[in-house]
Amino acid sequence: MSPLLEIRNLKKYFEVRNGYLHAVDGVNLSIEEGKTLGVVGESGCGKTTLGRTVIGLETPTSGGIIFNGINLMTCSQKKRRELRKEMQMIFQDPYSSLNPRMSVQELIAEPLLVNRVCSSRAVYEKTADLMDMVGLAQRLASAYPHELDGGRRQRIGVARALAQNPKFIVCDEPVSALDVSIQAQILNLLMDLQEAQGLTYLFITHDLSVVRHISDDIAVMYLGKCAELCPSKLLFKDPRHPYTRALLSSIPVPKSSSRRKPRTNIIRGEVVSPINPKPGCRFAPRCPHATEACTAGDIPLKEVAPGHYVACVLED
């Protein structure tokens, strides 16, 4: 089966005062229809820029985004507009991503009105359906975002993304601004919707337990590059990249034993600047196994086991 979305050697550089910020630096990913690809990494790793570039909010510096077999970078403007309707986004902050001057109904109807999908009567029927779908009570139709809690607001964000019957949704940290009990409600909703409508997700998050829960495959990003890519269970069972291992061992475990357990695997140092990065592995300055080979040249992703890709010289 050919993938629904393919990202080929995607690069996004931002011009800054003293050079170029390599936000996304040559990322290759693909997602099959109905699956979820989790992208995980710390702040500044380029995961949000990746999502924004895929959805068309940023223009890539180079590379290709192939959706349904059509390269969005080379196809006609008209075709692109058409395809973009099938790609939507759910934003991180349910407070700032909703126009405070619009009611729930107006917010959800907006994509339909903007794209003149159907008659205004049908729009409101469709809006009511969408509200049911995401579990918003109809009595809230005329409420305004500021009257609602974070969980309900994020449901509006989900309904709005679903309005045009998309195939593919970029979820940019959709639950990280929410409390855990609400977070679980939204995660369940996203998984139910995926099952019911065969949606495909690119799920961006910094939270490893969330990404493990929702994803089929996981890509670990570090400073604009993909460090490791593999099926989600495998990543937690057999992490190969030193950064992935560091990341996994950094998660605080809610068991009393974690207090006494000596932490051996804490990674030292901090993320270096993504501006004009040096060639080679971006993680090398912090890596306990770094050798000269790490900074000699670019290290491509290598298949170390079926479906398990790692970008590390240790795997040679």
Binding site: Q88, S96, S97, R101, G157
Partner: protein
């Protein structure tokens, strides 16, 4: 059916929001005094003909020149024997008209340019802002003077002159408010589902920038009234015999020592008008400021 529910909801929201702002505004004594004064001035301007007929502003009675306040002429008479009370009452129309119309005019220009610059940024923003910098490097009074001097002193040119001197500030303000709104995620969201730039500016950006714009416009009215009076005072604005307040002051200058009341009354009128709109603007700013919401 669904649509009516929608409009009803919208009304309810507007209603409650206005009510909320009014609740906070009401608690501010100074602002309420300002509002009272402003309403008084508006009423006087609207009902000027009812209060005192217009011809009393022009009737010259030679034997009644420079008479102090009396029951017949509550504010006294000027050097041509005209009733000062009637002239001040009718003069309010000029002040109010100039203040409001120039503020609205600069608001329109400010919204167009400010929103465009803040939203699109880039080269357009650079060109417009540098151009405005040039305007702002000239003191506003001097700028107005230059415009009037070039076009000739009359009411229309006065309006143009004052508006030009006020536009740069308004554009800058609206641009900066727009910049903070554009930063928010809901603008990106609108882009992600394909809303056009025009729609985003009109439905997303401006409604969320409305608070500071209202405050600025109210304050502007006060400033414009002052500039108009100032320009008329030095003879570059509304020309006598029109009873504009600044013009009244100007012709009273000569009689400053013989008939000081000729200065007191128009002066107080100008002060009152400017102060009232300033107080209202101040009160609105506090009432609209979300940080003070509780």
């Amino acid at each position: 059916m669904a649509l009516s529910a929608k409009t009803r909801a919208r009304k309810a929201k507007k209603h409650s929001e206005v009510k909320e702002v009014w609740r906070r505004f009401r608690k501010n004594k100074a602002a309420m005094i300002g509002l009272g004064l402003a309403i008084l001035i508006v009423l006087v301007a609207v009902f000027a003909d009812v209060i005192v007929p217009y011809d009393r502003t022009t009737t010259q009675v030679a034997e009644k020149r420079l008479q102090g306040p009396s029951s017949e002429h509550p504010f006294g008479t000027d050097h041509l024997g005209r009733d000062l009370f009637a002239r001040i009452v009718h003069g309010s129309r000029y002040s109010l008209f100039i203040g409001v119309s120039t503020s609205v005019l600069s608001l329109v220009v400010g919204c167009l340019l400010g929103a465009a610059c803040g939203y699109f940024g880039g080269r357009l923003d650079n060109v417009v802002m540098r151009l405005l910098d040039v305007f702002m490097s000239v003191p506003p009074v001097l700028l107005s003077l230059a415009v009037v001097a070039a076009l000739g002193p009359n009411l229309r040119n006065l309006l143009i002159a004052i508006t030009i001197s006020c536009v740069p500030g308004t554009v800058r303000l609206i641009r900066s408010v727009v910049l903070t709104v554009v930063d928010q995620d809901f603008i990106d969201a609108a882009r992600s589902y394909g809303a056009s730039n025009l729609r985003i500016i009109v439905k997303y950006v401006l409604p969320n920038a409305i608070g500071p714009i209202i405050v600025h416009t109210t304050m502007n009215i006060a400033n414009m009234i002052l500039s108009a009076a100032g320009l008329s005072f030095i003879g570059m604005g509304v020309q006598p015999p029109a009873p504009e307040w600044g013009a009244l002051l100007s012709s009273a200058r000569v009689y400053m020592f013989r008939a000081p009341y000729l200065l007191y009354f128009p002066g107080s009128a100008i002060l009152m008008a400017a102060l009232s709109f300033n107080l209202v603007g101040d009160g609105l700013r506090d009432a609209l400021d979300p940080r003070l919401r509780n």
